[in-house]
Symmetry: C2
Subunit: 442 residues, 2 copies
């Protein structure tokens, strides 16, 4: 048996000689976010050009789109009724013709005349107001044909006319660079017949799990000590729900060579690699070593002062001269999911060109008191609207231990719970806290 | 020229003899919602059975899913450290073996011994606590092998041990009938190796536009009086964004036979048909007539006291003995979109089995004063978080005229603005109002 005094400079992967206290300072959340923002600057959004089928939900546009024409292109009627000359006032009018949407009336309206007109139809020359049909009565007809009408309410000039360009002026910015396409944006582009737009490329992201204890989830009865890998399907689903097409990079076993090989291989498919497991203080936790010593990456942070997610690690560097970022998330399923929401999806959305990459934050009211811990905590909660309550009520989803996956189920938000201080060790029932919306199902 | 006194009972489609005031009462919103709920009862969710690939985002499960086993299955370590016997207290311990996740240690721990253990590994028999590695020092080693350690902080019984079933107990309900699958739910199912789940069938929905003035949106330069159809791509995109696979039923021209034929044809593909246009007081507005007189449908309502969306019509009946519901939305692009969000998507989500079919509602603060109108109004607004403000600030998206599609762009919510009353004709800047969240991009 020898003394332990000569162990300081020994390789980390010799168990007896490993560091017993993490060499990685746990950085505060603000520092972690700043570090990720700095990495994001190295991964700017890339244009994908003008693909033929671009008008689908979730695409991000890479240019300002301007209106190629006025809407409406001509003066049109807002109502079903009669196009009139306002100065004629309340007299009985001769119905001189019909203008429907798609079939304009070509003449010039004369005093004493009106044109039967429907919503969206072009206002005939000479007319300066529309009287809605409800404000008229029939004054004479010939068979099925209206010949004259009474106007019951005196028309004002311009009444119920949409002026040319009043909805949208030619050359107005319709959609801004970085805007994500949804139904309204897609409708607007179709209105102008705009089919070709420049869009951003979606970043490629690979998801892998690490751990000798993991088996694929289709295993019916894993042997004692083994568990099914749920992190990978969960993270794949998360990125899919955000509009990405993540690549499944499988399970890497806990040894330095395997992990290095898996990351190198993943980098051939994606510049963003998301791993889970292998980042803590365990003897098989090789991620940081691979990233720093094998790949020569810069580790932006190796721990974060947060709960869950303390061992969360982010590193970046180059493989085959291409920039690669690795989000090495903790292995606990809740930790990896919380860290993926806080760190990875905003990064991917920024890389995809979105001008609002971060999740929205709202204030919510705690349904019950909460003890504060030494670390800031991101508690999963579901929101409830209660009658007479101004704020959504936040109900924490049961026991928040980081292994307990049901704490994510039905969670709409991550509550941002501050760390305890000498002044404050508890939040009271009814206190307001920030909540990061993480579920589009909410 | 004949008098108009004999017109009362004439067919509606003779222009001169049409009703000049809508025969349809404008029902209040509460009545409209109730009517739709009653129709929904006729379209209950249908099980799709157990398809092989069910674990994808947006599926709705049609059964309660219970945990087939405990999690963890055995007592496991929460930390990287040493499994110990707590009663041994602070003495130096002999490291008798190693347990990692996936490789349990088979022996029985004896007093004075400990087992090096990593997070997730099974606690060996005899051990009753875990000491994290940070609270130990090396006391002796042999080559690379740890032989003895010092415990720096006295362990308590149960410390850092996840008891069997402490995260999830066998037979606990994991997911409830009607729950929509997202990343967390998918992760949980994978954790248990549950691949076959009963899910609900997504309802089929057909989208069509009506109007002689409409051309397909790929037209570069529609002739005077014609406009590109933007409603259909917009509604298709909306239903897609909600996880449905809507069917594009094209444009029907404004005549009774065409509309009847189009609806009959659509009913061969879908039990929910969404049209836009043809429901107002125009002479070419044949939808209600087709629905009632040609198809023999019951019209639940033919107008709604709301803005935009006054002419919104909902009818249901049977075609070829199969139940069909038609949401005949107004033709203005904003009106059709607002009505689709308020009436159609909750209906589709209920039919899809979702246990929370309606959009969530939150309180927001008005950025500016608003004049109240005679009808309740659903204003499009985007939300902004301002520092020091407890509520999201709601900014109305410009001119709210129902033809102005840009008022939808970037809109996160529909503000629920009440109608004016003798007591109140205006909402002040800073007042709180309800906001229906309509954008998952928010």
């Amino acid at each position: 048996m020898s003394s332990s005094s000569d162990l300081q400079s020994s390789p980390e992967h010799v168990v007896a000689k490993r560091a017993r206290i993490s060499q990685w300072p746990a950085v505060p959340m603000t520092r972690a976010f700043e570090a990720i923002d700095r990495i994001a600057d190295k991964f700017p959004p890339e244009s994908k050009g003008y693909p033929t089928v671009a008008l689908t939900n979730g695409r991000v546009i890479a240019e300002d789109i301007r209106a190629p024409e006025n809407v409406p292109k001509a003066r049109t009627s807002v109502k079903d009724g009669y196009a009139v000359i306002a100065a004629d006032n309340l007299m009985i009018r001769r119905v001189a013709g019909v203008a429907t949407a798609g079939q304009p009336w070509d003449g010039i309206l004369q005093p004493g005349e009106c044109i039967r007109i429907s919503t969206g139809a072009v206002i005939p020359e000479g007319a300066d107001a529309v009287v809605q049909v409800e404000d008229t009565t029939l004054a004479g007809y010939d068979g099925d044909v209206e010949v004259a009408i009474n106007i019951l309410i005196a028309p004002e000039v311009g009444k119920d006319i949409r002026e040319k360009g009043s909805d949208i002026k030619e050359n107005d910015v319709l959609l801004e660079n970085g805007c994500e396409l949804g139904p309204a944006e897609i409708g607007l582009l179709h209105m102008f017949g705009i089919q070709n737009i420049e869009i951003y490329r979606k970043p490629k992201v690979c998801v892998m799990s690490t751990g000798n204890e993991l088996v694929e989830s289709y295993h019916i009865c894993p042997p004692q000590g083994f568990i099914r890998d749920s992190n990978r399907p969960q993270l794949l689903s998360l990125f899919r729900s955000q509009g990405f097409k993540p690549i499944d990079a499988g399970i890497a076993s806990d040894n330095i060579d395997s992990i290095e090989a898996a990351i190198r291989q993943a980098s051939e498919f994606a510049s963003v690699i998301v791993t889970s497991g292998g980042v803590s203080m365990g003897e098989k936790d090789y991620l940081k070593e691979v990233l720093r010593n094998r790949l020569g990456f810069e580790i932006s942070f190796g721990r974060v002062w947060m709960k869950p997610g303390l061992p969360c690690t982010v590193a970046h560097g180059k493989i085959n001269n291409l920039p690669v970022v690795v989000f090495a998330l903790p292995g606990n399923p809740v930790s990896s999911y919380v860290c993926a929401n806080l760190f990875v999806t905003p990064f991917l959305r920024a890389m995809a060109g979105c001008n609002r990459p971060k999740q929205p934050v709202i204030k919510v009211k705690l349904a019950a008191e909460m003890r504060l811990g030494p670390r800031p905590e991101y508690c999963r909660a579901w929101l409830e609207s209660r009658c007479g309550e101004t704020f959504p009520i936040a109900n924490v989803t049961g026991n928040q231990i980081s292994s307990r996956l049901p704490s994510l189920v039905g969670a709409h938000v991550l509550l941002v719970i501050p760390q305890s201080s000498t002044e404050k060790t508890q939040l009271e029932k009814g206190e307001l806290v920030d909540a990061i919306i993480i579920s589009s199902l909410f």
